[in-house]
């Protein structure tokens, strides 16, 4: 009888130990995958922001200051620039769209329906533009805008949906001064 009880107890303890091992292995894998996804998202989103900054550097180039800024909204920024002084202006729209129920960041040029950049998946936060004049006052008239604060939060799904289910997110906040409008 004692041997039987010992065997049952050993089986239970062994079972608990094996379950703990398996759970730990799965957790380690989930945490590792999420960390890798986070690093990947940071790398990709920083690359995207670098390209966005290069587009924003063109604001007002080659066009009159009064024609540089076309529209300033919370989730849409529209501006123009020309390849040369007096050349035909390009119109760029940087906007947040809802595609299949998810917020996306896209950049369009010259009225084309195909974006020149994006779409990139954003979180529920999406993007938020805040515009400032030369004296750091927010939300001035379009003709007085001299720099923009852009906040965007990129999102990436986890690799395993059954364990540690959460979205990987990376919020980036940049400021871009439109130097062409200062010259």
């Amino acid at each position: 009888m004692i041997t039987l009880l010992e065997s049952i107890a050993a089986t239970i303890i062994g079972g608990i130990f094996i379950l703990t091992m398996i759970t730990s292995i799965i957790n380690i894998q989930a945490v590792g995958v999420n960390t890798n996804q986070q690093i990947l998202l940071v790398e990709i989103s920083e690359d995207v922001v670098s390209v966005i900054e290069s587009y924003l550097s063109l604001v007002g180039a080659g066009v009159a200051d009064s024609a540089a800024i076309i529209s300033t909204q919370d989730t849409l920024f529209s501006y123009s620039y020309a390849d040369s002084v007096g050349g035909s202006p390009h119109v760029v729209n940087m906007t947040q769209e809802n595609i299949s129920g998810a917020k996306q960041l896209s950049v369009y040029a010259d009225g084309n329906v195909t974006p020149i950049l994006g779409p990139f998946e954003l979180s529920d936060f999406g993007i938020q533009f805040t515009y400032y004049d030369v004296n750091n006052n927010p939300n001035p008239a379009d003709s007085l805008v001299r720099y923009v604060k852009m906040i965007m939060e990129f999102q990436y799904d986890t690799f395993r949906e059954d364990i540690d289910k959460r979205f990987i997110r990376h919020r980036i906040q940049i400021w871009k001064y439109f130097k062409n409008l200062y010259i």
């Binding site: 945490v31 030369v134 906040q173 940049i174 200062y182």
Partner: protein, 144 residues
């Protein structure tokens, strides 16, 4: 089960737990490094904001080069990014091509040093450009 066998099992459990703890520790170190990198990137963007501000104001002659020291030397500011406060300290040093030059009244070059500190959720102070080793940029007086 003999006492020896029980001790062997206990020893195996202790050894196995050590391996798990080490693996977890390494993983959380890696995650900590990834998140700290994000905070550092935010801090670098803040320094870039100030450098852009100075460049733009100089280009537009909104601020004169000789006024930069009065405006920015000793300036402290706080900006909140992603619910974390970044405390910014700016100092200026007149310089020439050979280094700092505090004797010239109207210097041709001015070095702007920025150091930022923040306290991320883990509670440790994170420096982005320390006072001894700040993030620096040299500006030139275009009309010297």
């Amino acid at each position: 089960m003999t006492t020896g066998q029980i001790f062997l099992i206990l020893l195996a459990m202790i050894l196995f737990s050590t391996i798990y703890l080490t693996a977890y520790n390494n993983l959380f170190d890696q995650a900590d490094l990834a998140y700290k990198g994000m905070y550092i990137l935010n801090g670098q963007k803040i320094t870039d904001k100030y450098f852009q501000e100075i460049e733009s104001n100089l280009l537009g002659e909104i601020v004169l080069f000789d006024s930069l020291q009065a405006i920015y030397n000793g300036l402290s500011d706080t900006l909140t990014v992603s619910d974390i406060d970044y405390h910014i300290n700016i100092s200026t040093t007149p310089c020439t091509k050979t280094g700092a030059d505090t004797t010239t009244v109207t210097p041709e070059f001015l070095r702007i040093d920025i150091s930022i500190w923040a306290i991320p959720p883990d509670g440790d102070t994170l420096w982005i450009g320390m006072p001894q080793f700040p993030i620096s940029k040299v500006f030139v007086d275009l009309y010297y």
